[in-house]
């Protein structure tokens, strides 16, 4: 961290992948041509829960043009990032509508479809569990009877013999005793349905195993190295014999984290050696067959004293994980150690429980559980404030976290942890909070957000910097630019540290596990921070190499020299050498040469992280960093129809350092609108009996369009430097969609006195609430 003025970081440099994206030059996985590529079709379960008695592939294999058929018998291997509860294809049972049972690969899509139709599967239907209450009920049918024997990371606690795939307990202070001292107690329940990521590019993977046994995979994914690691573990291949390449990615939002279609593509590729096999999902399957966001049922009890200080807080989060929890178990965990949101609760009893059901598979989704729990917690905080007659902003400021305050795990925040209070104040000021303005059917609401990177303690990034002969710097990263602007940010840090003209930096894609340096995953809002740090370290190393060579060239102490706009300068003599005279080694006039091609690798891994206590989740530093923020919204309601318009969203986040002003604004606007979508229109609907999806198309499942966005979107930032952040920066990508739905709900309450606790807030729900309110209080 430094107060030195910056040249590139914090400025409006051009987006480095912009040109290829506006010209159509950017190639995504589906744009690549593979010679004689085979087309795959996946046979998916039509049942939400059934035993698989038998799978017969003989008829399918006979279809002309079919080159590979595969099912669970062929690959009974487990896969999963944190909990290995899934197999490549269902073996003994299917657990959601869309569960892969078999797959075929053929010379043409038509032949593949024909063959898929001839795969014969004998199912024996089992009771279908769709709700967490049914999954938790005593004697409930077990979705995973073998749960107790699955392999998992040590910080996940599946309960064998039940449908609980993870349970995090947070115990702090003495909740029961504190509750007895409270002047007011508020208990409310909230719920969030499963929703879908809806990237405009759906999942797609292309794989080949060559004659020598090397597996190559081109895939639309957020995490090439994690895909390689999990493929290696699944198919028992050495990591060095698996290559994963990620071209441009058309949106991820968490749905392309971890591993998805890659094992199916790999399995077919192993059956059709030497041939490329492409597996993709159509838009309908994208909604239910790969991954979705988990549902949540939350119950909160809050006890406050007369002065508006929360003394006792209880939280129960029941997560609807769907048929598999391989990734979702960590959402459950993150929601546990963040259960108190942006507030200090001295006495807290929290439980975050993941429950298997027969819904689509819950997984990572931008926010990683945080939008869902903030939907509950933020509305609860407003309701508590109203109960005691206190202004909701004042109440939040009285109870929020900050330097010296203690989180639910007992971590004491310091002056580098970010300032939620400043974010709340900024948003309140922008909204004109407390100005007494009250117009009929218009309202304002504010909600907070906090999130930490939810990742293993050893989640690392590394980078490689090297130079071209003309002095141009090449930056190799394996974080994925899924749109957030990572390549641009990496170029900014590199140009900054080496004082290079910005156009003398190239950030290399496509990340390729054979060639690129290791990176754990592009998730958790961690890339600017982790890759940024690694870039700065590698740049420092390159800088020392350049100074060392120039020192000998100038016969001057290196400590006197400095980098200046692509040269090494000796300020005392005024002598300078451009990088191109140094980066391949420096040659003296007599011909003798020193140094050599300048290059450096560097890594970043968060230090000092301590596991949670298994019984209480207490830990002095459970996560690498926190990012805080708040949003305010203004709404207008039509009291007759329940239709409402979100007219304005104002956000403020403490990002440590604004690395690129218009990129971070764009990321914030995008998050707000994704937040608006989940808040007011999105819900994956299933048939309540069969568990079959009812709105699996863009016609029936609406996401925001240009006509749905508010007139005004505003993004503000606070810059409290992160101690271990590159030039003080911390992540913010996910946080931008966390508070939006709760803020909208509060604004609707402010506008017309109704409260919707089941997301999404549709006009129908608003109208019903208005009518119910009218009945309760007949007009005099």
């Amino acid at each position: 961290m430094s107060d030195k003025p910056t040249r590139w970081v914090g400025t409006e440099v051009p987006r480095v992948d912009g040109l290829e994206k506006v010209t159509g030059a950017a190639r995504y996985t589906g744009d690549l041509k593979f010679p004689r590529m085979l087309h795959a079709v996946v046979v998916r379960s039509p049942h939400a829960h059934a035993r698989v008695r038998d799978v017969r592939l003989e008829q399918a294999a006979r279809v002309p043009g079919v080159r590979a058929v595969a099912c669970g018998k062929d690959f009974p291997f487990h896969v999963g990032i944190y909990l290995k509860d899934q197999t490549v294809f269902a073996t003994d049972r299917v657990r959601y509508v869309g569960d892969p049972v078999a797959a075929v690969a053929a010379e043409t899509p038509e032949a593949a479809r024909e063959a898929a139709a001839r795969v014969e599967v004998d199912y024996e239907p089992l009771p279908v569990i769709l709700d967490v209450a049914d999954g938790m009920a005593p004697g409930a049918t077990l979705v995973h009877p073998d749960l107790g024997s699955y392999e998992c990371v040590p910080w996940i606690t599946p309960k064998g013999g039940s449908n609980v795939c993870n349970h995090l307990k947070v115990r702090k202070g003495d909740y029961e005793a504190a509750l007895r001292r409270c002047a007011h107690v508020v208990e409310r329940s909230f719920s969030v349905p499963q929703v879908q990521h809806v990237p405009i590019e759906g999942h797609i993977s292309v794989a080949r195993m060559d004659g020598a046994g090397k597996l190559e995979v081109y895939t639309s994914a957020q995490s090439p190295f994690t895909v390689r690691h999990l493929l290696s573990a699944c198919f028992k291949l050495p990591h060095g014999d698996v290559r994963v390449v990620v071209p441009h990615v058309g949106g991820g939002f968490g749905g392309k984290a971890g591993i998805n279609l890659e094992p199916i593509a790999a399995a077919l590729a192993m059956k059709a050696r030497g041939r490329w096999v492409r597996v993709l999902v159509d838009r309908s399957e994208e909604f239910y067959a790969v991954v979705v966001r988990q549902g949540l049922e939350a119950t909160l009890v809050t006890g406050v004293d007369k002065q508006g200080k929360v003394l006792a807080q209880k939280l129960l989060y029941l997560w609807n994980c769907g048929g598999y929890g391989g990734y979702g178990v960590n959402v459950v965990r993150a929601a546990g150690y963040t259960c108190g949101g942006a507030y200090e609760f001295p006495n807290l009893w929290g439980d975050s429980i993941g429950v298997y059901t027969n819904r689509p598979v819950g997984s990572a989704y931008r926010g990683f559980g945080m939008q869902e729990i903030h939907w509950a917690l933020e509305q609860q905080m407003t309701m508590v404030a109203q109960e005691i007659g206190m202004d909701p902003v004042e109440f939040r400021l009285r109870n929020c976290l900050g330097p010296g305050k203690s989180t639910v795990t007992g971590q004491v925040l310091d002056e580098h942890s970010g300032r939620i209070d400043l974010c709340i104040r900024k948003v309140a000021e922008e909204l004109g909070w407390g100005d007494g303005r009250k117009e009929p059917n218009r309202g304002r609401g504010i909600a907070c957000a906090v999130k930490a990177p939810a990742m293993p303690n050893d989640a690392a990034s590394s980078v490689l910097l090297k130079f071209c002969e003309d002095g141009m710097l090449e930056v190799l990263i394996s974080g994925i630019d899924i749109g957030q602007g990572l390549k641009t940010v990496a170029a900014q840090f590199a140009a900054e540290a080496l004082d290079l003209p910005f156009d003398k930096v190239r950030v290399r894609g496509l990340p390729d596990t054979d060639l690129s340096p290791y990176d754990w995953q592009t998730v958790a809002s961690r890339q600017t921070w982790a890759t940024g740090n690694a870039v700065l370290r590698a740049a420092e190393n390159c800088k020392q190499q350049l100074l060392g060579m120039a020192s000998r060239a100038f016969d001057a102490p290196a400590s006197r020299l400095r980098l200046a706009n692509g040269t090494v300068l000796d300020p005392e003599t005024g002598r300078s050498l451009p990088f191109e005279r140094l980066v391949m080694g420096y040659q003296f006039d007599d011909g003798h040469t020193i140094g050599g091609p300048v290059a450096a690798a560097a890594s970043f891994i968060p230090e000092g992280l301590i596991f949670l206590d298994p019984e209480t989740s207490q830990s002095p530093k459970p996560v690498a960093k926190w990012t805080f923020g708040a949003q305010g919204v203004e709404v207008r309601v039509d009291p007759e129809t329940g239709q409402f318009t979100v007219e304005r969203i104002v956000g403020c986040y403490d990002v440590g350092k604004v690395v690129h002003p218009s990129l971070i604004r764009g990321q914030t606007y995008g998050g707000m609108i994704q937040g608006l979508g989940t808040g007011v229109m999105e819900e994956l609907l299933l048939d309540p009996q069969t568990g079959r999806p009812r709105n699996a198309s863009l016609t029936d499942y609406k996401i925001p369009t240009t006509e749905d966005i508010p007139e005004k979107l505003e993004a503000h930032f606070v810059e409290t430097p992160q101690a271990d952040g590159p030039l003080g920066a911390r992540g913010v990508g996910e946080h931008t969609m966390i508070p939006t739905p709760a803020a909208i709900s509060d604004a609707l309450f402010d506008a017309c006195g109704i409260r919707v606790t089941r997301m999404p807030i549709t006009a129908e729900k608003v109208r019903a609430a208005l009518q119910a309110k009218k009945k309760e209080q007949p007009t005099p």
Binding site: R15, G24, G30, D31, G483, S662, S697, L698, T705, T706
Partner: protein, 163 residues
């Protein structure tokens, strides 16, 4: 059974034998390797495949290649001339009107179709025209700003918006 078609694509006549059920999108992407038009939904809902057919924005996934016979198609690859960006492309860059970039070609071509018809659209008209082009990344704000800025520049220079 195939049918012989000739389509003028980005100014170049392309003749091919195509199956009657081949979509314009597949023809462009598979036969001509013009992959700027994306397949996002294949059902006319997302707009990622929009190209201009006789200067009008069309979801290429919903049009058959044989229907394009004898017509003029412009794809994103045809906008920049000799490496010089179309003003609309430049404005998308200047306003950070793209993130993952998957919707960008369709977004730009739909806008181009709009500006050809209406060089001075109101914000409401732009919103309506682009409402069939889904973007999950940007929240659209910077796209709308880029469109207005480009429209102003195109009016100022007196050049028509579409080619």
């Amino acid at each position: 059974m195939t049918q012989r078609i000739t389509v003028r694509v980005n100014g170049i006549p392309e003749t091919a034998e195509v199956a009657p059920d081949r979509t314009l999108l597949t023809f462009l992407r598979e036969d001509l390797d013009l992959t700027g038009a994306k397949e996002g939904c294949n059902e006319g809902e997302c707009g990622a495949c929009v190209v201009l057919v006789d200067r009008k924005p069309i979801n290429a996934c919903l049009m058959l290649a044989v229907e394009a016979d004898g017509r003029e198609v412009v794809t994103i690859e045809g906008l920049a001339k000799d490496g010089v960006l179309h003003p609309l492309q430049r404005k998308f860059l200047e306003h950070q009107a793209l993130q993952c970039g998957f919707c960008t070609p369709g977004m730009i071509l739909t806008t181009l179709g709009l500006l050809a018809e209406n060089p001075s659209p109101s914000e409401g008209e732009v919103r309506r025209a682009l409402s069939g082009n889904l973007c999950r990344c940007t929240g659209y704000r910077q796209i709308l700003d880029a469109v207005q800025d480009a429209a102003a520049e195109l009016r100022g220079t007196g050049k028509g918006a579409a080619r």
